[in-house]
Structures are given as C-alpha cells and as structure tokens.
Symmetry: C2
Subunit: 270 residues, 2 copies
C-alpha cells in the first residue's frame, strides 16, 4: 500500500519537485508488530534533513501513524517515507508558498539468506566514487544517482553490497549501508562530513558499543586500515549488521565477536 498525503494512491504530480530536482528526503524503516525500530533516530534525521533543505517537516504523529498503517501484517515489513518540497515552481527556486508531499509505502521484507548475517557477505569494490559535497553530506536526500550507478556495476545475487570510496580512495560506506572496522583495538567508522549518509543504525551501534565499554572513533579511514582490520561489518536499518568476509576476490575476514554482539543487540531492538 502507498499513501500520498494520507490517501491511498500510487501516483504523484509530474510537477512535484521530488521528480523534477530530487528536492526531498527519505527514510527506510523496519516495522514489526506495530513497532518501528529506532523511530526516534529516523525521525531526528528526517527533521535535520528538512531543516537543512528548508522543507517544512510533517507532523510526527501523522507520519508514525501512516508508517504503522502500511507496515501492518503478520510479517516484518519495510516502510519507506519520502518527503518532497511539494509540487510547483518553474526553475530551481523553491516556491514561496508550497505544500510538501508525504509518501509512505509498505514493502515486503527482503529475502536475504540467513548466512549473510551469520557468516558474513562478500563485497564488490565499486569503481563509482562518492563525490565531495559537504552541503549535502549526512542527510538522506533524494539525489542518489551515485548509489544507483555504483549498485549497477555488478549483478551477482551472492554479492549483496558494494564498498564505495571517496574521490581520493578512502573507504566510506556501502551503497546502502555504513561501514565499521574493528581495527587496532578500537571500533572505527568513517567520518561523513563530505559524503555519505549518517545512518540511524550506525548511530545506534556507536552508542551501544560505547555503553559496552568499546573504544569508538569516527575518523577518515584508509584502505590500509580496512585491510588490517580484525573485523569489518556493515550496518543498515533493515539488514541490522552484516559481517564482511570478502572484498572482490580477496577473502580476508571472519564474522567476529563485535559484529556478533552488536548484531544481536540490534536484533533485540524491536
């Protein structure tokens, strides 16, 4: 089911700025038994995105109610929320008066093999780099061509994710996930002030690791750090945590204790 501004509907106006310019934001949520995992984190990021793009945010209780409505059912569901600036205006200038469009859609839970979370995944090494863009870094906006091009580089169902790097070759995230390294005794995740999306599960995992007494650092990472890491894993609101066991043809890592512990913690968060 899709709700557009609260009404069951599968279409939007051609003049919507979400289509014309990618002028909007989205969130992808895990829903089960009337609960939205990490709702507060998703809602805060959506508000932060609205603030940075100058879009009037929707009311929290309305979005929450719609998410639960399209997320209903006996199984876990994926719910996507898209907020655009709304329809209208010829040219880039945001219209002085405009009413944001709210799109809430429900989707089946992806049928990932159980071994991805247990034994880990192989990653494609993407050639498409993440551009350098501090203005848009961190928020989950609708300008996602980099991810589309990177994800289009390979088509092997046994390889569910790809590693993306900055223009100067630093590993920064997956096409749809954030990256963590267990490296030199610390838990490290790349800074996201010039590109990438500040994941909600990333923030939750950072918090959980800290409260378990693990030393945590957000720093620019290098391929050398990735290569010498004891554990590598990915986070995302739907997958939770996937350990990484291979990058391209190189089989280097095993699902380790931190990925396992933090993965179990995320799965307990329903």
């Amino acid at each position: 089911m899709i709700l557009v501004d609260g009404h069951p509907r599968e279409w939007i106006l051609v003049s919507d700025r979400g289509l014309q310019y990618g002028d909007g934001l989205f969130e992808t949520l895990a829903v089960r038994d009337g609960r939205i995992r990490h709702w507060q984190g998703h809602w805060r990021r959506l508000l932060e995105g609205c603030r940075r793009l100058g879009i009037e945010p929707p009311r929290e209780e309305i979005v929450q109610e719609e998410v639960l409505r399209v997320g209903e059912g006996p199984e876990r569901r994926v719910v996507k929320v898209v907020i655009t600036r709304g329809a209208g205006g010829r040219g880039y200038a945001p219209p002085a008066v405009v009413s944001p469009t709210r799109i809430v859609s429900g989707h089946p839970w992806p049928a990932w093999p159980r071994e991805f979370a247990q034994e880990g995944v192989a990653l494609h090494l993407c050639r498409t780099a993440l551009g350098d863009n501090p203005t848009l870094a961190g928020i989950k906006h609708l300008n996602r061509l980099e991810q589309v091009l990177a994800r289009g580089e390979w088509d092997d169902p046994r390889v569910p994710e790809g590693l993306m790097r900055t223009l100067d070759g630093r590993p920064v995230c997956g096409t749809m996930s954030n990256l963590f390294l267990h490296c030199d005794g610390r838990l490290v995740t790349p800074t996201l002030d010039r590109c990438g999306i500040r994941g909600v599960t990333r923030a939750e995992v950072l918090g959980a690791a800290r409260s378990e007494g693990i030393q945590v650092e957000e720093i620019p990472c290098s391929m050398a750090m990735l290569e010498r890491a004891e554990e590598v894993f990915l986070t995302n609101s739907i997958i939770g945590i996937w350990p990484v066991r291979a990058l391209g043809d190189v089989h280097r890592w095993r699902a380790g204790p931190w990925a396992r512990r933090l993965g179990e913690w995320v799965e307990s968060q329903w």
Copy 2:
C-alpha cells in the same frame, strides 16, 4: 500540456525511479513556430546522458514530435523533456528489465525584462558550492539539490541569477547558466569535468566565437580572472546571452561587444 509516454497526463507512478532516486535526465528547450532551437545539441547531450547513466534512450523522432506538440502556439514556448530510468525495483540496483519514462511538458516563455539581455544582470554570489563529482559532471541529470539550495539563497526579482563556485572557490557557472569571461584578449569559459552542466548554448557560443576568429579557451577559472575580465556573460538555452554587470554589491562590468555580437547570433538561431 504534459505528455507522459505520449499520453496527456499530469502524473507519474510513485515507484518511478526519477522520484525515488533522481534516476534520470532532462533537457530544457526553446520552441517557436514549429522549430526547436539547437535541437541537435540537445539531442546529443541527452544521448550522452543516457549512455553515461545506462538508460535506454527514446527514439529521436518521437521526442521531437512531442516537443513540437506541447510547444505549439503563437508565442515562444519552453519545453522540458524528462527521461527517467522508469518505474520499479526496490533499492538502488537498476532493474534488469525496465521501461524508461518520457515526460514532455510545455511552459510559457519567462517574462524577463528586456534590459537583462541588453544592459546586463546583477548576480548573487552563492554560498552553496558545487560539489566535486566527475562521475556526474557535464550531463543534465535529475540530482539538482545543489542548484535548488543555491537558488533559494536570495529572493530579489531584480537579481535573476547567482554565481556558483567549486569547493575551492573557483567560479564555474550560474545556477541555471554557463559562464563566459572576456579576459586577457580571449573568450574563456570554465572547464566542467568535475561539476556543472555542459550547456548546449555554451557549446554553440564556443563554436560561433571560434568561427568569428575569437580565441577560445576552456580552463579552470579564478575569481581574480572574473574580477579583471572586460566582459562577463551567461548563456542558457532560454535566455540566450545575458551580460553580467554586477556581482553582489560590486558593479564592475558593462555589456560589451562580444556579449552583444554572440547574443545577436544566438537570437538568429531560430
């Protein structure tokens, strides 16, 4: 009038990847008396964009016919063509089988004051920088949040355009136009291999200048070059050429002979 895949219709599916990811391209065309100005240039850029994004291009004669249909009337018209990868696929991966969406819409000619083309315009100096992204540079794709944010910085109808700079402060283009400088006896326009759109009128003006014997260079420009330029002007498919007379509070330039000659040449191109 709006045609979606050839049918009069004002909507697209929510699942269209143009909305979900900005996964597509556009062209903005000037149409008068059954003629499309610089059609070959627009068509070539659209083909190049489709090639780089891996989108199956539409047939030329179909697009041309639809552009003329929505561009009909006694006045000049603006016609926008949007090509998206099409609807479907959950997640960034382009679906193996997908049918591109073709949207052709007609709009009134903007009511710019005549003095903009004759005496020149004042520019806002945008704080929003153009990110660094060689993968997407040059083509007219639908990820246009940088331009939206830059154009949202000011709201003075007497200031119709803003100057955008790279992350390291080099002037590169307007929010909707390309930049030319008459500087040190040459006609200079910034290189666009890391950001910006390779304008059709830009290419036509470069060609026309060359054939008039003017020395032409595409090079990275600096604010110092802009400041010492004898003439500064902007190009765009709808406006043609606008000389620049001011940047922010600084009134520095006058509409000069090259802007005038090349502007008249563009206006003769119907």
